[in-house]
Structures are given as structure tokens and as C-alpha cells.
Symmetry: C2
């Protein structure tokens, strides 16, 4: 390992946990000791980190003795139970679940947008929802420079956001349909919900369960988290979230209204070209625009198809794509850890 | 055949042409003589109509002698060349290409919306773009009852809109990816455009070529055709069109602003429940909403996920799904033919 911090990864065997380890490795994050934790079921498994086998242990309160940074991605109930135990033992928790995101004492952080909020932490820092993160990375430079008052987003989300079982289900169904065989949907749209639907060669307008107001929890996460991260309670945000037969890479069709009428598409493009965490891919004449198949394994948020609304001079449309397991989860979490180090908060 | 009209189908061997024949058969359209026409390449093929083999002949100007109704779906250049020849010989042309849609002397018709426009025809009647048709069927009852001033749509479009070769390409790529084999994209997003991209397990934000203003022709079709069909030059319409790995069934995430502030989601649901050509599928508590996999082979437009915007009381979001080969093409064309008969225009 080497000189650095005692880091714990909770949910180390899951889809996001595995990406967290890969990202810590790639970023060469300063780790002196690494504790890999999981549910009882996965405990005992061996996982590779920098070429060495590390045994995964069952996560219990005592697992966090001496831990300085704990990355949680093992579901909301695990975070609710064990994150406070980790904090009690002196760890800073970076939580990738929705358990604490809207808690008013918990900063909800995308480093490109509100890194400063880390200074207000009380032990737990929440990592936002994947579809929120990639959108606010694209929105923040626009807000800073031109002001922002309305956002309408329709998402095109990959199945890996629903975990490894959902990826398997998509592949299993695709194989069955191509072979003209029968199959029974079992996981998507929401494994704990009553009905399950075909995802292969389909589009399902439900991610997470429905609230009484007709919006899904995923849609409400995008709405509420965007306002919290950007410190704009008054920002108008609307979302429609849709699951697609894509393995990895969320896409978003975003419409915004800015505070100025005299801006051009080229102004927005120039701005995003140099924005932190953004790669501009916008050249229609050359058929250059972001696509999920191209973003896999990359940390950036890709933006393209930027064009002015034909009716409202302050309206802009664009297309945002990112790897939902990286910037949407693992990379944003590790990036928060890097910011904590940089700001001397750990 | 029986008592009725002399009907010609141009492009009889294509994906839409085949659906036209199936629809004419199912509707028991009064046909006395049926001329199946195609390019030279497909001439000589035999096609079944009501159990009888009909030989497909090469479409030439003389093919339209005696024809009363000619359904065209063989590409814009064929329509431009032969539709006037058919009209010259006394036929009424129902054209499924974009050749005449924005021509000011040509009615652009969705019978649920503007059937009366058929009375102004000058020989050619244009069938709108597939993604436009399903949207205006859902919008028109709202416009009539509550007024309509703004529409923002993001589409989720199936590959069959790009023809039979695109369906084969999607399946071929999906098989290759599942088998971890190499493949070369050849058709999508636009076969005549320079670059071709993976469509299986991907989302491609380009349908048709790009215009200089950064919008694709598909997006401009949705914008311009919607205004023309609804007779609302002043309606604000914006579109983002995206191709998905779905074989058949276009979906649309639609946001509208109506002229009234005191309407509820239930008012919109009640209205659409009884609207012509619409099937309401909207019960979030029971996970009931439209999906492309469920709409295939059905003539209706399916609407669900209707909910009020959380910021603007006159804003509504909903989800519209329809079989792009049927209501989006073949069924709307045959429906126009039925309207012509009903209105004594043929």
C-alpha cells in the first residue's frame, strides 16, 4: 500500500464497489491500509487491489476502528445502519446511496460544482444520484456565466444503474429475443416492485418506485438534488426518467432557460469546452456528438448537440452523456476523497 | 377483390408497404383492383393479399392508368417523380415520404386532427413523419379543450423507421456484442451519411441529416409538421430526436404548456381517455404506462405518465408510444384513404 490513509470500501464486491477500487488504483489514491467490507453473504471473497489479493470481510460497526475514509455503496439500509458507526469511530463517510442525500446536515457534493460544501460536513458526505451528477456538471458553468432559471430533462438510462443483476437480465433477454425464445422478466424496472417488464429492445419509463404525485423517486432525486447541489431552491427543474437497453452510459436530453437573451450557441460551446470535468463533442457537420457506447470507462461528462431554441432566445437544448458507474458513482466518490485531502479535511 | 376502388401501393415490398397491405386487408378496404408497384429491382416478386398471390410490377408513369388511390412509400425521389404522374392520370396520391409535406398546396393529414384539410387537396395528400403523427394525436384534444402554446419533445425512436436494413443491422450488432465479436456499423444513423455508428446497446442522437442550424431534419420535421397539421404557426415546438436499439415502437417524452392554469392531471387524463385514436395507459400505482414492446401491431397511440409540472401550473409532462410502422405510417395512410371515401372525395 504505502503512505496515506486507512480507507474502507463498503460493498466492495458490487458493480460500483469494483469501479471504486479500480478508480482508487488508477488515481493512485494515497492508501496506507485498505479494508474491503461487504454483506455477510459476500464476506470471504478475495478481491485484487494493485495486483494483491485482499480478503473481503463482513461489515460490522467494529470494522471502522481506525478507518479515516469510508466509501459506502452497499444500499441505503447498510448506509443508514453503519455510516453513523463509522463516523462515531472517526471516519469520514462518502456515501453513494440515497440515505443521507437530502439530510440538511449532509453536504451533497459534485466537486466541479460545490466542492466548498465539503467544509460543512458532519462526518457524512453524500454522493448524488448518477443522473443528477452528469447534468449538474454541464449546468454549473452555464449558471455561473449566464444564469439559469429552468431545466427540463428526459433521461436515457443504462441498466447498470440497477446493478449487476440488471445487466445480466438485459443480456439474457436480448439473447432470448434474438433466438425467438420465451423469457420471464425478473429484475427491471425495480426489483422490489410488483411487476417486472422486458428491457431488451424496449424503453421503460420507470426508474425507482412511484411517488403519490405521479413522479418516480428517480425523477424527484434529479429535481431535489439539483436544487441542493446548485444552492438554487428556486430553480425550476422537471425530469422524466427512462430505462433503456444500454449496459453502461446514461444520456440526457436537456432543455434550459438562461437569464440572458443575447447569448449564442457558440458562447455556450466555448464555455463548456473549457469547463472542468466536461469534454465537448459537438460538431454536427462531422456527425460528432456524445453516445453512451463511447463514454464507457471515461471519467468525464460529454456534452454535444448544443443549439438555441427556435422560439425562445434564452432557451438551449443539449445532450449529456457519461459513464454512470464512474462520474455517476465511483469516480465522483473518489473525487470527493481527493478534494477532502486537497482541502485538508481528512 | 370485390366492389370498390382501384388501389395502387408503390413500394409494396418495403417494410411500410407490407404493413400497408396488411392494414388494407385487416380494414377490409373496398378494393376492386390492386396494383403493386416497386422499383425495377423488386419487380417480379410475388406478394400475398387476402391469400392470393399478386405480382409486383415496376412503377412507371403508365402504371397509374385507371388508379383511383395510390399509396406511395418508396422514398422521396420516387414520389417526386411519379406522384404527379399518378395525379395526371386521375389518382389521388397518399404519400408517406417527406417530398410534399411542407408544400403549401398539399394537405398534411392526421385524420384525428385535421381530416377536414382533405377537402383542399390537389391530388396529393401527405402523410406526416411517424414521430409527428403520434404526438399530434395526443396534443390535439389538449389544444381543443385547454389551448396549447408550447411543446418540448425528446424522442426514443425505433430502428424500423430507418427500414428493414436497419432492423437487420440492430440484430446483427446485438448478436455480435453478446458473442463478444467484432462488427462494422453500415446503416445507422443515416445510410447515406458519412459515418455509421453502433446502435445495439447504444443511443444515437441523430435521425436524418443535420441542417446548418444544428437541428436534424427529423427534428425540423416534428417542429414544422406539428405547426402545419394543427394550423398553429405560432405554436412553440422544440424537438430532440434520438435513435434507440428498439425494433418497432417510437416513444416520446413530451412537455406542454397549456393556456389555462386551473387544470389538473385528472382533467387531462379524462380528456385523453375518450380521445379518438388514443388509449390511455396511466396508473402509476399499478405500474401501468405505455412501452414500445407492448404497442407493436396496434393502431392506437398510447399515452401515460401524465403529470403536472411541479413549478408551472399550466405545464404537463407525459409519455406517448405508438407503432411507428402503423399509426406512424401504414395505418395513418389507410386511415386517410378511409376518410377520403367517407367524405366522398374519391
Amino acid at each position: 500500500m504505502g503512505k496515506g490513509y486507512h480507507v474502507a470500501v463498503v460493498g466492495a464486491t458490487g458493480a460500483v464497489g469494483q469501479q471504486m477500487l479500480k478508480t482508487l488504483e488508477e488515481r493512485n489514491f494515497p492508501i496506507e491500509k485498505l479494508s474491503l467490507l461487504s454483506s455477510k453473504r459476500s464476506a470471504g471473497k478475495k478481491v485484487l487491489y494493485k495486483g494483491k489479493e485482499v480478503e473481503v470481510k463482513e461489515a460490522v460497526p467494529q470494522s471502522f476502528e481506525g478507518v479515516q475514509i469510508a466509501l459506502f455503496s452497499a444500499g441505503g439500509s447498510v448506509s443508514k445502519e453503519l455510516a453513523p458507526e463509522a463516523v462515531k469511530r472517526g471516519a469520514i463517510v462518502i456515501d453513494n446511496t440515497s440515505a443521507f442525500r437530502m439530510d440538511e446536515n449532509t453536504p451533497l457534493v459534485v466537486p466541479e460544482v460545490n466542492e466548498e460544501d465539503l467544509k460543512e460536513h458532519n462526518g457524512i458526505i453524500a454522493n448524488p444520484n448518477c443522473s443528477t451528477i452528469q447534468m449538474v456538471v454541464a449546468l454549473e458553468p452555464i449558471r455561473q456565466t449566464f444564469g439559469l432559471n429552468k431545466v427540463i430533462v428526459s433521461t436515457y438510462q443504462a441498466v447498470s444503474g440497477a446493478g449487476a443483476h440488471a445487466i445480466e437480465e438485459l443480456k439474457r433477454q436480448a439473447r432470448a429475443i434474438l433466438a425467438e425464445e420465451e423469457f420471464t422478466p425478473e429484475i427491471l424496472p425495480v426489483s422490489s416492485d410488483e411487476k417486472h417488464y422486458q428491457i431488451a429492445f424496449n424503453a421503460v419509463p420507470q426508474i425507482d418506485k412511484f411517488q403519490d404525485n405521479g413522479y418516480t423517486f428517480e425523477e424527484m432525486k434529479m429535481i431535489n438534488e439539483t436544487k441542493k447541489i446548485m444552492h438554487m431552491a428556486e430553480l425550476e427543474v422537471a425530469a422524466t426518467c427512462v430505462r433503456l437497453p444500454v449496459v453502461t452510459g446514461h444520456s440526457e436530453s436537456v432543455y434550459v432557460e438562461i437569464d440572458q437573451d443575447n447569448v449564442s450557441s457558440n458562447d455556450i460551446k466555448s464555455l463548456l469546452k473549457d469547463a472542468p470535468g466536461v469534454t465537448l463533442q459537438d460538431d454536427p457537420a462531422q456527425q460528432v456528438y456524445p453516445m453512451p457506447a463511447d463514454c464507457v470507462g471515461k471519467n468525464d461528462v460529454f456534452v454535444g448537440r448544443i443549439r438555441q431554441d427556435l422560439d425562445r432566445p434564452n432557451g438551449y437544448h443539449f445532450w449529456v452523456v457519461s459513464d454512470n458507474l464512474l462520474k455517476g458513482a465511483a469516480w465522483n466518490s473518489v473525487q470527493i476523497a481527493e478534494s477532502l485531502v486537497k482541502l485538508n479535511l481528512v
